[in-house]
Symmetry: C2
């Protein structure tokens, strides 16, 4: 718990200072990017552990900042897609190295390759369950 809190806090500070966005925004941008640049609102909510209403407010702010755009879904007119804008993609790319640096400094630097392998496989197993 303490290590997790340290990484998250340090990451938040670093991203605010360099790219000018909160850590939670980066997590959102990278999730959308990994999904191919677009996600449905409900999918976004599930992936970020926000409720649907929380996702609505969150995307409101991302959209106001010009990082994403809402786009009506063609196959289901109830649904909306969150689409990464060029600015959003650029922001994510600019943030990536900062994120890697912090994770390396607070986490990776302290473990050997074999330890990393043990931890990685263990976490993978837990995610599948």
């Amino acid at each position: 718990m303490h290590v997790h809190a340290d990484v998250v806090d340090t990451l938040d500070d670093a991203l605010r200072a360099t790219v000018g966005i909160p850590g939670a925004w980066y997590e959102a941008l990278i999730e959308i990017a990994l999904a191919g640049g677009a996600m449905r609102m409900s999918e976004f909510a599930a992936e970020t552990t926000l409720t649907r209403s929380g996702a609505t407010r969150f995307v409101d702010r991302l959209e106001a900042a010009g990082l994403v755009q809402r786009q009506s879904c063609t196959s289901d007119r109830r649904a909306w897609e969150v689409v990464l804008t060029d600015k959003g993609r650029a922001t994510q790319l600019a943030a990536d190295p900062i994120v890697l640096d912090v994770i390396q400094d607070r986490f990776g630097r302290h473990i050997s390759d074999t330890e990393a392998e043990v931890i990685s496989s263990a976490l993978d197993r837990m995610r599948e369950a």
Copy 2:
């Protein structure tokens, strides 16, 4: 990140359902208990990664629920101590097995003893840094 979120969420649900308190309350109770049943407000804030003002509101609620009591500090009249009440201690003791069960189910169950040793020593190293 995902495994951490899963453990925290499951723990929160389990504690609300059984003992009737949020997960964050348990973390607070156990921190005070580990400190010997009493802590200064600022120490409490530091240990829970809350700001001082956040700690004030938080302890307000714990106190309203009868789990802790504020007690003026004898050596420094600016300071207050947060003291675990009998009810607070009993609540923590009742919650302990629930917490262990969830951690075992979501975390411990998926790793061998040697893997646990690797993870534990790695996290200890990070905490020291």
